[in-house]
């Protein structure tokens, strides 16, 4: 699991907003970067407006609590879009929010490695590691609340088919 410092939950000073609604309010944004490897500089993140098949795209989710009360039960959800395949071990492993994976559109979740039960044509059932291409969603569920002004960031990578 790739562990990222920037993935740590940040607790920031409350900045009051007269216009803020009562209660928690999460606002989020998603960014996409094309990841290329330079022999000298290592990984470089480029704009992902345009990609080629087999390129690597990193999606970064950044959510903050802009409300007036802490938010409980916070879960971030990152879909694997059509035309891409999740690259294993690229989902940020947040402290207090390990990534969970779904292979059925978000109904069921499990930690990596994702296992799947395969019913073979002869009727036998085999449990084996799921092909990453089956993963449809990644989720991070915070153990504790997200305080007012707090921010959470997570990322994952996909490969363009």
């Amino acid at each position: 699991m790739r562990r990222s410092l920037i993935g740590t939950i940040l607790l920031l000073v409350v900045v009051g907003s007269a216009a803020a609604a009562q209660g928690p309010a999460l606002t989020g944004e998603m960014a996409a970067s094309k990841i290329v490897v330079d022999k000298e500089k290592g990984e470089i993140a480029l704009p992902a407006d345009q990609v080629y098949p087999s390129d690597t795209v990193e999606y970064t989710l950044r959510y903050s609590n802009s409300g007036t009360a802490q938010a409980a039960g916070v879960s971030l959800l990152g879909p694997i879009p059509d035309g891409t395949i999740y690259i294993e071990e690229t989902a940020t492993d947040l402290q207090g929010a390990h990534p969970l994976f779904s292979i059925d559109g978000g109904k069921n979740w499990q930690e990596a490695p994702v296992m799947i039960k395969v019913v073979r044509l002869d009727g036998t059932v085999e449990t084996r590691k799921a092909d990453p291409a089956l993963i449809t969603h990644i989720k991070w569920s915070l153990d504790g609340p997200l305080e007012v002004g707090g921010e959470i960031m997570a990322s994952y990578r996909v490969q363009v088919k």
């Binding site: 039960g73 959800l77 088919k161």
Partner: protein
Amino acid sequence: MFLRKSTGPVLTVLALTLLLVSGAVLAQTPAGTTIRNQASATFEDLVGNTYSATSNEVTTIVLPVFGLSILPDDSGETPPVAPALVQMAIPGQTVYYSYTLTNTGNDDDTYTLVPLLDGVNTTMLLGIGDIDVYHDVNGNGVLDGGEPMICAGGAAGNIGPIAAGVTVSLLIEYQVPAGAAAGQVAYVGIEGTSVGDGAQVDTRNYHRTDVVSDAVLTASMTGLPAAVDPGSVATHTITGQNVGNDVAHGVTVASVGLTGVLIYDILPIDPSTGDPLALSGAPAGAPAGGTVLYLPAGSPTAGSPETWAWSTSSVAGDIAVAYVSSGDLAIGQNYNFTYDVIVPAGMPAGIINNSGAVAFVDNNPGSPDPTIVVTNNTQIVVNVLADVLVGPAGNPAAGTAPLYNDDMQAVPLAYANQVVDFVNTVRNDGNDADEINIQLDSSTFPAGYSIQFFRSDGVTPLSDSGADGIVDVGTVNPGLTRDFVVRVTVPGSATAGGPYQAVVSARSGNNPLEFNLTTDEITAVSPAAVDIGNYDGAAGTNNLPVNIDANPNTNVDFPLDVINTGGSSDNYNLSAVFPAGWTVTFYRDVNSNGVLDLPELTPIANVGPIAAGAEVNIIARVSVPLGELPGVNNVTFRATSALNALVFDEIADTVTILGAPSVTITPDRSGTGTAGGTVRYQHTVTNTGNMDDTFALSALSSNGWSYAFFDLLNNPIAAVTLVSGASQDIVVQISIPGGVAVGTIENGTITVLGNGTGATDSATDVTTIVAGNLVLTKWVNPVGNQAPGTELTYRTDYANVGTAGLTNIVIYDAIPAWTQYRVGSAAAGTAAPGITGTTIEFSDDGGGGAPADFDANVTNVRWTLAGTLAGGDSTADGPAFTVRIIAE
């Protein structure tokens, strides 16, 4: 509906998933595809309400990549050990070699082709200019009339554009020189270069032509029709001729004991099952007299085909079919073999590739036997058949055949401001991956309701993964299902009603004419609701009216319950109807004890969000003003839904104002009188109660003297009638009997007594009998009510109304409360006769902090008059001083 729907058993999902997904991985994403992604988050507030927030949508466009593959390949050596193809030919024969070119990129592309000749290893007299390349449009391995030449005389030429993933057939044609000798060879290949990306080249692909003087069989295959629907029959035909100059001998098929030229084909495979396509009808071959052979399932296909375990009987699952002629094939003699196969109803869209072969024995003892000639590869397109089903969760095939449009799922009851999610499932019953669009076909939901589509995660909105501008569930592979959520948001202002239906269509992206409908219904909608009642200390409330008795000028608290009887979280604004002059203030009874506690003294205008079915306690504090009359007063408390201002509830309570009679007579007075004279004191009688009454006037004299009462018009009175709050001034006159000794003190107790209510009060007038009688008359200027800051001048005139002279006269006066003495304003005035001088003195035992020219420390002024004031003397310009009414 366009096609009949299948309700047959669904294959085990996971097993099929692996099979199909693994195949899909190999496909490149087409150029121009927009990859869309959108994050989402769910969270809860402190009371457990759940919310979601979606991010912006990021889009990425897939750029084109180019590539090609020309098959078959040779083994790579020069000359190749294993050429791409090998044919035998006699001198003068025109040979044709079939190749395929596949666009392995993700976008349309055109390719430049050029034939190659290995001049070093080619021993026959052949030049590059002798070689042509054609586009074998129908892929039958035979150059048909009208099929275009790509490379004329060895020159480069272009073919295309060819769509991504598409394979086309090529034919290389040249004539073996008539003078060629047996044993000579030619190595000819073909090179293709992508026009889109010149670095993408497929080269070599060398085949070999061996010049012989022997039997030479041609072999080509056709597959018809060029495109078939699943469930149809396709026909393959292998044809050829002995174009050599000797007889082609047969091979001996040991398993059936027959010898002849063996024309055979390993049947194509249905990729969805791995099974060979089943034969249909009776295969037929020529020359007549031969025998059709079948290769049972499980038979090995290694080694020479005549060694395989052929059978003359057909059984289900046969993996190959063949025709063995009854004898040799003479020079120039044709042969053919035709058989039909069934394209399974569930076969995925795509290409059926197939090629056959013919095996014979030539006349050259030095060459290995048998000689096998492979046909071209034929391609039959399996048409895309779109078939989409949508229905309630997990049951996409719900509904009545053949259309399956009448299926429905219903939520029996929904509440205002509630979000209702319907999970629907689509299934791709077609034979190709399909981007299934989701649209609202029709709706009976009233205005104000919103209907949105989400992915199965319930938070990511459906988006258009293609370019048709319609949201979809993404690409669904054949046989697979995908859930999506139809979210109906009931507005807070929703009124009672229903049923309401949303008809949702799932429409094939492959064939927009193919769609299916399903209906999501909310059978009944219940509006926002609230119940406000009197506090009962338990769940629920008391809707019976409550009365509280109260005195005027007091507060009464009504503890109340507010219950959200709706089906979703709501807030309620609080208001009340009450008598004029009263006030009602609401507070939250945080600890629900029915008492307004000190920490709860924060007024509220609404109760704050209340979850469906939950109850909160509040206190309505009613302030009763002073002077409120006795009686029953209605006080109605209302809670109004923040979702729908038309929704409210009330509780009508009462406040009974108790009778509170009260009267005052003020002030106490004192003065002096002389024997035989009268003294008059003015008092004010005020009905300070909340009941009208008539108050009798009476006096109790300490000396038994006579008292009389007058109004200010000097009319004699015995009582005053006052409504609640009213006042009247009265004058009390004391008649001092003659001969009373100087120094006698008279205490008069003046009493008012309400006739109806019994309210009573008294004032005391103290009169001292003096010999002389100094009468002081005090004046103020200006008179009447004055505003703060006004300066008032008080003057005290004095007169000796007695008969004896008065000495040592000292006049005291106090600075009134709420005033400040003007410095230097104390004046002696005009002295009465006999007064020889006036000494003015001040007392300053309090106060302070007055503005300039004023002294708040001055509390009293004293004028000491020197001389004697004879009886009958007086002054009308007595000592005076000025004060200022405090304005700060």
